[in-house]
Amino acid sequence: MDFNLTREQEMLRDMVREFAQRELAPKALALDAKGEFIHDIIKKTAELGLVGIITSKEFGGTGMGHLARMLMIEELSRIYASLGFFFQTGQIGMYAIENFGTPEQKQKYLPALCKADKIISTALTEAGGGSDPSAIQTTAELKGDEYIINGRKVMISEAPVCDLAIIVAKTGDKFSAFIVEKGTPGFTTSGKENYVGLRSLPVGDLVFTNCKVPKANLLGQEGKGLAVAIGGISAVGRTGVAGVALGTAEGAYAAAVKYAKERKLYGKPIAELQAIQYMLVDCNMEIETARWLCYKAAVLLDQGKSPRDAGDDITRCKLYSCDIASKVALRAIQIMGGYGTIPQYEITRRLNDSIELFTAAGTQEIMKNTLARSIIA
């Protein structure tokens, strides 16, 4: 068993770390307060080849793999989780197109997505529930060469700014996935919701009213739409959320360690107090555990395991990392005392971001259900 990164992975990690320090660290507080989509920064990541990091070179990507992606998301989220989370959501759609799309769909969409010239949303959740895909009410009815789509997807990341969306709709008694482009008559997006965390990623609704989509935009086979969506959400979404959680925890922990070494009480740094040390040790242990769960899931995908075969590892890394991110952020606040809840100290943002991760790409409870099923199978 080799715990070492390759030289390329090390160089990628260093490059992303420096990018985050240059481009995100000085602005993170203001970006979070503003809460606007950070397309300009995302474009810079695309120029560095990061948006297409799991997309094949053939389609404009860089194809460095899932562990490289995990390192990238971890490093970005350590400074500003919103940008890390962009890679979680955006790359679900790209993964789905590459793995289930026709050659024409891949050529048409992936190069522009890798350059961040276009933004993609993936939409499963409806008002009737996100955790239960079978409750989807949106319908797609085939008439001639077109599907007529009606329904509403809610709480969709990047919905207000997306150029195309992958959605899942009912086709008869089964579900199918479609690519819907912005500008298609009958397809509108709503204004963004005001969420407490991950504020640079706008979240909103996708609305379909007699929206006519060409038959060529069916993604994967008709009736196999859930496999398209769940495959992407599992392999890319859950690992992505886990990476964001890991980086968020690391950011909070680093701030707490720095503060504990600088803040003096009773004539010495509070880092010398055992009560503080124990909290730091708990954070350290949890982060290290989360990191290896995350890396393992990513390595399995790089080894060619399917999202189903790597499913338990993916579930564990999502469940555990999201669990510890908020714990670490809360401990950091506790260590920093009154300063911890002042936004300028950037720990409340970590907590707010970590809260958003509980429900992303499957709730913590759904993760437990999934793992439980596997254990007792």
């Binding site: 030289r7 390329e8 160089m11 990628l12 260093d14 490059m15 420096e18 990018f19 240059r22 120029e47 560095l48 080849g49 990061l50 990091i53 070179k57 860089t62 460095m64 490289a68």
Partner: protein, 266 residues
């Protein structure tokens, strides 16, 4: 510009981890264990300056370093930034070199590479900070040398115009080629390598040369060739003591001046 650009770089401890370094007083060396190593920060500016010149002049950029096997990583980073190939001067004979012995090894490497029209270095390193190597290298190669450069402007193929700063402005110097230039951190912002560059770096060549390959005699380099050698090292612990002066502004100023005089500081 006929000829290639050699950019000399050094691997140093990561600037964010300098507090983790400790001194081995007995051996007179710095204990670097557990401290990650990177390209000396201003040497990255030198690599960037070389690459920008290449974009205009269409020559090759060769990254050069002298150091132990681990220094290869610094060259890999330079290759990922865009250098065409690299030369690693790696030989036990090079160990323990002072600046003069380092410059001899680098000069040997540059002569053996051949066809170098311009050498760009960082102005100084964060671990030793002498700023001597560029000038020594120029002397050995009989090239002109300009240091502390903030801007390089290509002219014709025979010369470059460079700008160096001083307190009240800047000085522009026309330097004939071949030449040695030492740049400071103001000259540019080093680029970040993109993912494809990182992946392509592995395909690029790193030539590993011993003293014989660089055509330098073992006795002229490393510890044996160093006219300056470690004698003694000690750690200095600064102790600070604050004192708050009270009274009117005039009284406080008078008291401060009085104290500084007593300490013979003014």
């Amino acid at each position: 510009m006929p000829g290639d650009i050699a950019v000399c770089i050094k691997q140093v401890p990561h600037p964010d981890c300098l507090a983790k370094l400790s001194l081995d007083a007995a051996r007179g060396t710095v204990n670097r264990e557990g401290v990650p190593a990177v390209i000396n920060p201003v040497d990255r500016n030198a690599v960037e300056a070389s690459l920008r010149l290449r974009e205009k002049l269409r020559n090759r950029v060769i990254a050069l370093t002298m150091g132990p096997p681990a220094a290869r990583k610094a060259l890999e980073d330079a290759l990922a930034m865009g250098a065409d190939y690299a030369v690693h001067l790696c030989d036990r004979a090079f160990a323990g070199a002072d600046t003069l012995a380092t410059a001899r090894a680098l000069a040997g490497g540059i002569r053996s590479t051949g066809g170098i029209a311009l050498i760009i270095c960082g102005n100084t390193t964060i671990d030793s900070g002498t700023g001597q190597v560029a000038a020594q290298l120029a002397e050995m190669l009989d090239f002109p040398c300009v240091t502390d450069i903030e801007e390089i402007m290509p002219e014709d193929g025979a010369s470059l115009l460079v700008k160096r700063a001083w307190e009240q402005g800047d000085i522009r110097v026309r330097v004939r080629l071949p030449a040695v230039l030492a740049v400071n951190a103001k000259i540019n912002q080093p680029r970040l390598p993109n993912v494809l560059d990182i992946m392509a770096a592995r395909q690029k060549e790193i030539k590993e040369w011993c003293a014989a390959d660089a055509k330098v005699e073992a006795g002229c380099v490393g510890l044996a060739g160093s006219p300056t050698q470690f004698w003694q090292a000690g750690e200095f612990h600064a102790r600070r003591q604050g004192e708050i002066l009270r009274g009117s502004p005039d009284e406080m100023v008078a008291a401060a001046v009085d104290k500084l005089k007593k300490l013979e500081l003014i």
